[in-house]
């Protein structure tokens, strides 16, 4: 493992499988009466959020607290520039208070990379989403969810996603989730197809390790999981698509479309969902939709990442009790 987690593309297959396996161990902790491990006791982690994201921040915070870390939340609305203080000064100020790791969410693509590589601070940097670049822990929790559902909770240990066909639908152009998922799923051996109107696919996508299609209906019967990305209504004002209704007719997932999926296939969504836009309520509330499960898995994945980056060589979860039972 590297010292920082900036991009899903930085992870090898073995790194990624190790994180997923470790997350399964962490998930077992959640089933215990006391959901807490002493692993990061005495370590301080700051959640440095320059963009509003309550769910991601809470997920990291829950993971940090379950590992017994001391947690500082720093929420700066707007960019470092509009605030007047630079990213560098903010980070150095926090590090001066003795921070071991920085979990950063920033509106500017590359801000976490700069933080990790500019010599500004020594702390480990974990990217919690930067601009339209990367959101690696989201991709990891998505892969975790897929492996559990498609391979199995126990059967999945040590396994990747070889041969699984994953379709990602929506605003690929503005999506860090799409970029991270394409990178990680490819590393894990899955075949990825992106589906979007041509306006929402970036120029240069031809270099990505995936297929691109403009037609959702022909893709659905062939996939093991379909991931619906949030589409912001404001996009239509910039002429990315004509109207909300037309988007939803062509690229939204409703009950009829869901019926075209193979029986075992799951429907995923990173949240927050725009019901009636990319997904209907019927689909969102169905058993096949893993949106809520993904949130729960997010805590396990973030615990695994924090443990592997900061925990050193101590075993993450004590198996003493399991041994006694044997």
């Amino acid at each position: 493992m590297q010292r920082h987690l900036i991009s899903a593309a930085d992870l090898t297959r073995d790194d990624a499988v190790l994180i997923l396996d470790t997350a399964e161990e962490m998930a077992r902790v959640a089933d215990r009466p006391i959901k807490k491990l002493p692993t990061l006791r005495g370590r301080t982690i700051v959640n440095l959020f320059f963009e509003d994201s309550t769910r991601t921040r809470i997920s990291f915070e829950a993971a940090e607290k379950r590992l017994s870390a001391d947690v500082i939340n720093f929420t700066a609305k707007g960019s470092s520039v509009s605030k007047g203080e630079s990213l560098k000064d903010t980070a150095q100020t926090l590090e001066a208070m003795g921070v071991d790791a920085v979990v950063i969410r920033h509106g500017a693509s590359g801000a976490p990379y700069r933080l990790a590589n500019s010599g500004w601070i020594d702390a480990a940097v974990i990217n919690a989403g930067d601009g339209t670049h990367q959101h690696p822990t989201q991709a990891l929790l998505d892969a975790f969810t897929m492996r559990r559902r498609l391979v199995g909770r126990d059967a999945g240990l040590g396994q990747d996603l070889s041969g699984r066909r994953i379709t990602v639908v929506g605003d690929v152009l503005h999506s860090r989730v799409a970029r991270s998922n394409v990178d990680l799923l490819h590393t894990l051996g899955a075949e990825v197809t992106l589906v979007a109107p041509p306006t929402l696919v970036p120029v240069g996508v031809e270099a990505w390790p995936c297929e691109v299609s403009y037609d959702l209906d022909s893709t659905l019967p062939k996939c093991d999981a379909v991931m619906m990305l949030r589409v912001q209504r404001e996009r239509m004002n910039a002429a990315f698509f004509p109207t909300e209704r037309e988007y939803s007719r062509r690229y939204g997932l409703d009950g009829d479309r869901m019926a075209k999926l193979p029986e075992h296939a799951i429907v995923m969504h990173p949240g927050p969902m725009v019901r009636g836009m990319e997904i209907t309520a019927e689909v969102a509330d169905s058993d096949r939709c893993t949106a809520v499960e993904q949130v729960a898995n997010g805590v396990s994945i973030r615990m695994a990442v924090l443990y592997l980056l900061l925990g050193g060589n101590e075993p993450a979860v004590s198996h003493a009790r399991t041994n006694e039972e044997k």
Binding site: S79, S80, V81, S86, L87, K88, H106, G107, A108, S109, G110, A111, Y113, R114, N117, S118, D130, G131, T132, H133, Q134, R176, R179, P202, V203, G204, V205, E206, A207, W208
Partner: protein, 428 residues
Amino acid sequence: MSKILIRGAKVLGGEPQDVLIDGGTIAEVGTGLSAEGAEVVEADGKVLLPGLVDLHTHLREPGREDSETVLTGTRAAASGGYTAVFAMANTFPVADTAGVVEQVYRLGRDHGYCDVQPIGAVTVGLEGKKLAELGAMHESAAGVTVFSDDGKCVDDAVIMRRALEYVKAFGGVVAQHAQEPRLTEGAQMNEGVVSAELGLGGWPAVAEESIIARDVLLAEHVGSRVHICHLSTAGSVEIVRWAKSRGIDVTAEVTPHHLLLTDEMVRTYNPVYKVNPPLRTERDVLALREALADGTIDIVATDHAPHPHEDKDCEWAAAAMGMVGLETALSVVQATMVDTGLLDWAGVADRMSVKPARIGQATGHGRPVSAGEPANLTLVDTEYRGQVDPAGFASRSRNTPYEGRELPGRVTHTWLRGKATLVDGKLT
């Protein structure tokens, strides 16, 4: 002013000759010239060029003296072998009146490191809406002949047409910063494979090419000449080549950084590589080199754009666009054009002195190295190899993309009308 004998200099890269300067003029060029009464500079096989001329410099004064002043900028220019620079109009206040251009002109003249020829804004406040008093700037002591809203595109086709027509009355030229504004909203880097991966807003080649195509057609229609600033794409080269073949009066410049660097550098997210127009692809770089060699692109211009450290020591999106270039331009041109066999030193003199002086009507610059001509000269140690160290820059700013990079060539001497501004690599 006394006599100076430059002994054994390869004039334009040719056979070693002696050049005798007397006062502000070249008195004699030949072999075995007498050193009597003259200070001798042993050129020892270094290459002697006419003083370089930069058609595209940001001196930042008035308004942003924290990044550069006319004094520090002209010292940087002399250090890089330049004897004349054209100062862009995007200062605070904007150089859109006779008063501002005269101020910049006088500062340059008083400091004496390098002739400063102000460029006037095309439109009031660079806003692209209303023509600035172009005639008044031309009639002023600064004698402005080049007009540009550089930093911003004159995107309104009617305003551009009127500007092209209007400056014909006094032989002026409009230098266009070709950037279609709607296509580049939120643009952060070249649009392509790298921007798709990095998630940075794309600056598509077509945003430059569509404006160049429009403007060469406008220039043809109204019978004016137009100059294209910092051309950066292979497609732009094709359009300019086509326009020239049709007899359209268009000239174009390329920056040193677009001859060397590609958008792959942006993978570091280091804003030192953030520049407008953005670094493009390898294919573009090769097309630009070829175009400069075959004359489709007329000149090299630095687009020297100083920025204070804090404007680059931040995240990419928050950083200012631009790079300093005066002190590294000749080295980059040597690396990309001379050492690659695309251009000889006479060609370098043509692209970095003769032609820019002609486009900007800088009389006394870009002249042949021969008797009777003004002694604006640059002596270059072309055998030198060394790493770029920004700490040694004369510029007030350090935002160079070449820090630590090994580049060939080093300017050792610069003479402005016979007066040394740089001796053995040190400013006088």
